[in-house]
């Protein structure tokens, strides 16, 4: 059962690292005469795929006509100076939505994956400690953890982020958001790890290891941690969409990534203008990307989720 979440995480890491490399245009590259250009239809001929270039008919109404007499190849490997091809349309500033979506994957998935790694580390450590040491440590970890689990996540994230200076440089934002996510996410991991450790610590192989004089650290990392790996993998796969959504919400509110950084959340906040979005619904493409990440997780983990059903839905 651990294979699915691990494969899913590996794919997400690949997308985060690789997506910007296959983007046809730069994230900030603007095409002046193609503001809110619609997605172009792709045709096939003997030379491969092509599209008809768009010409601006009415700048005020933002209407475009496809020039059926001309053909342009898809932007990958196209000659310099060729007319731009927008597979998912262009946004209000004439930037390619597909390219911004692919570049945004790095920021959105990258932050979520870093926060997930941190959450797993802190959650596993605290869970191991609470489960193995018992007593006061266990009570402290479970009390604080339960309090955090009851709080609606998004309120706390927004409150903590809003308490920091509103304008911060990119590096600081990433670190601050990752720390906030880790501080709020760890109880989900620690709760399960603690329960597994408590059960596992009674087993013969652990008792034997202690009797043979293994150190606490060795017992915890070599004998107790391996029992938690499957649980950790599933939790990791559930945390990533939660954090992707948290980033999207924060950036939508203007509290996430700075304006110039392409991420799925900042793209959504650009699309928040209702009048502009009704005119160019394709600018909501990042919403589809977020939806896809959550959907794939839900479908792949459906049988192994148990009470976690609510975890994803409450993250909204």
């Amino acid at each position: 059962m651990t294979r699915r979440p691990v494969v899913l995480l590996a794919v997400l890491v690949l997308v985060a690292l690789g997506a910007p490399l296959v983007a046809p245009y730069g994230p900030a590259e603007r095409f002046r005469d193609h503001q809110h250009a619609p997605p172009m239809r792709v045709h096939v001929d003997a030379g491969g795929l092509y599209a008809h270039p768009l010409t601006l008919v009415d700048r005020l109404e933002q209407r475009f006509d496809a020039d059926a007499t001309r053909r342009v190849r898809l932007p990958w490997g196209a000659r310099a100076g060729a007319a731009p091809v927008f597979l998912l349309g262009a946004d209000a500033l004439g930037r390619d939505v597909l390219s911004r979506l692919l570049h945004g994957a790095r920021a959105s998935l990258g932050l979520a994956l870093v926060a997930t790694a941190g959450t797993l580390l802190l959650g596993a450590l605290l869970g191991l400690w609470a489960g193995y040491a018992g007593g006061l440590a266990e009570r402290g970890v479970t009390t604080v953890g339960d309090l955090l689990l009851v709080l609606p996540l998004i309120y706390v994230v927004v409150a903590l982020r809003a308490a920091l200076p509103l304008v911060l440089p990119l590096g600081t934002v990433v670190v601050a958001l990752a720390i906030i996510f880790v501080l709020l996410g760890w109880p989900r991991v620690a709760r399960g790890v603690r329960a597994i450790v408590r059960e596992e610590a009674e087993r013969d192989h652990v008792v034997a290891a202690i009797a043979l004089g293994a150190s606490r650290w060795r017992v915890m990392t070599r004998h107790l941690l391996p029992a938690c790996l499957g649980y950790l993998a599933v939790q990791a796969a559930l945390l990533v969409p939660m954090f992707v959504l948290a980033e999207a919400t924060l950036s939508y509110l203007g509290l996430g990534f700075p304006d110039g950084v392409p991420s799925w959340g900042t793209a959504l906040s650009d699309a928040a203008n209702v009048a502009a979005t009704t005119r160019a619904p394709w600018t909501l493409a990042p919403a589809a990307a977020v939806f896809l990440v959550v959907l794939v997780t839900n479908v792949l983990l459906e049988p192994s989720r148990h009470d976690a059903v609510a975890d994803v839905s409450r993250s909204g």
Binding site: A159, A162, V274, A275, S315, G316
Partner: protein
């Protein structure tokens, strides 16, 4: 443990919880850089700004401020909002009511849609049941942020429904009520869709599990019809996990309503907290924290009490 003791214990816990959360929000808001006068500082002399800070009680040491706030709390005096120039208690009460309206209607809609659908999909292997189940997984993956954006877009595009706000203003009586009902569907649906899908999934799984139990076979063997067996024996037995999930759904509604309120401009508690945070309106932030935590505690307690009344085994397990 009796039900009364259970309720009293939960209420006391809820009170402590609300106090802790409110104090923490106050602390967070107070430690944030800048205060309510920062935004207007450029238009004021140093003396005017100092006077305004004194008026808002911001010139006192942190502990004095906290003490005064606690004393005020016993009289339901939560201070004055610098952003809205009104007493915080009035403002928070008003907005909390709007949020409650949104949340209750959404929960009712979600239950009326999700539970019957789950009852059906859990007991059937037909293509339609599978299609509903698959659609439910898809809707479950549509968090309130996305469903709200999508519904606002649809509403704006078709012009069938208003895309935001709660009332059009300038109306009263029956016209006001009709106008309110006209503004409800977009935010309610945005909030209710993921909840309905969650309920459908849980009910479906519980129903399928109940059908596998021996008493269902026994009932069929006694000659009861399939319909009657499902209604009288299987469904009631499947309700325990469904009722259990309501406690969790309360948290989902709180998170969800915040996002939905911001996207659809619904004047609720979530939007108020967001505005207050950005304006560094500390007393309003603390008031929202207190009201939010108190309603969260009340809602989860209510969910648990209903659950415990219907399934008394819970009391024994906890006692």
């Amino acid at each position: 443990m009796t039900l009364t003791r259970f309720v009293v214990r939960r209420a006391a816990g809820g009170l402590v919880f609300a106090l802790v959360v409110a104090s923490l929000t106050l602390l967070i808001a107070r430690l944030a850089p800048g205060d309510a006068t920062t935004g207007e500082a450029i238009a004021m002399t140093v003396e005017q700004r100092a006077a305004l800070r004194a008026d808002l009680g911001l010139d006192q040491p942190l502990l004095t401020q906290y003490g005064r706030w606690l004393v005020g709390l016993t009289r339901f005096d939560l201070g004055r909002s610098s952003l809205f120039k009104r007493p915080v208690a009035d403002l928070v009460g008003e907005r909390a009511l709007n949020t409650a309206l949104l949340a209750v209607v959404a929960l009712v809609v979600a239950s009326l849609v999700g539970i019957p659908l789950g009852r059906y999909t859990g007991a059937s292997h037909a293509m339609l049941a599978r299609a509903v189940g698959a659609a439910s997984v898809a809707v479950l993956s549509l968090p309130p942020l996305l469903s709200a954006l999508l519904l606002v877009l649809v509403a704006a595009h078709t012009g069938w429904l208003p895309a935001g706000g709660m009332t059009s203003g300038g109306l009263s009586g029956a016209a006001w009520l009709a106008d309110l009902a006209w503004h409800l569907p977009v935010p309610v649906l945005a909030l209710a869709l993921p909840l309905a899908a969650t309920l459908e999934r849980v009910q479906s799984r519980a129903m399928a599990e109940a059908i596998g139990r021996p008493f269902v076979d026994a009932s069929r063997a006694r000659g009861l019809t399939r319909e009657r067996t499902l209604r009288v024996h299987a469904w009631p037995a499947s309700l325990a996990p469904v009722l259990g999930i309501y406690g969790v759904l309360v948290g989902a509604i709180f998170s969800g309503s915040f996002v939905v309120e911001v996207v659809t401009s619904w004047p609720g508690l979530g939007r108020l907290l967001f505005d207050a945070l950005l304006a560094r309106d500390v007393w309003l932030v603390a008031g929202c924290g207190a009201a939010g935590a108190a309603s969260l505690a009340v809602a989860t307690t209510m969910a648990d009490v209903v659950h415990a009344t219907l399934d008394p085994r819970l009391l024994e397990r906890r006692g």
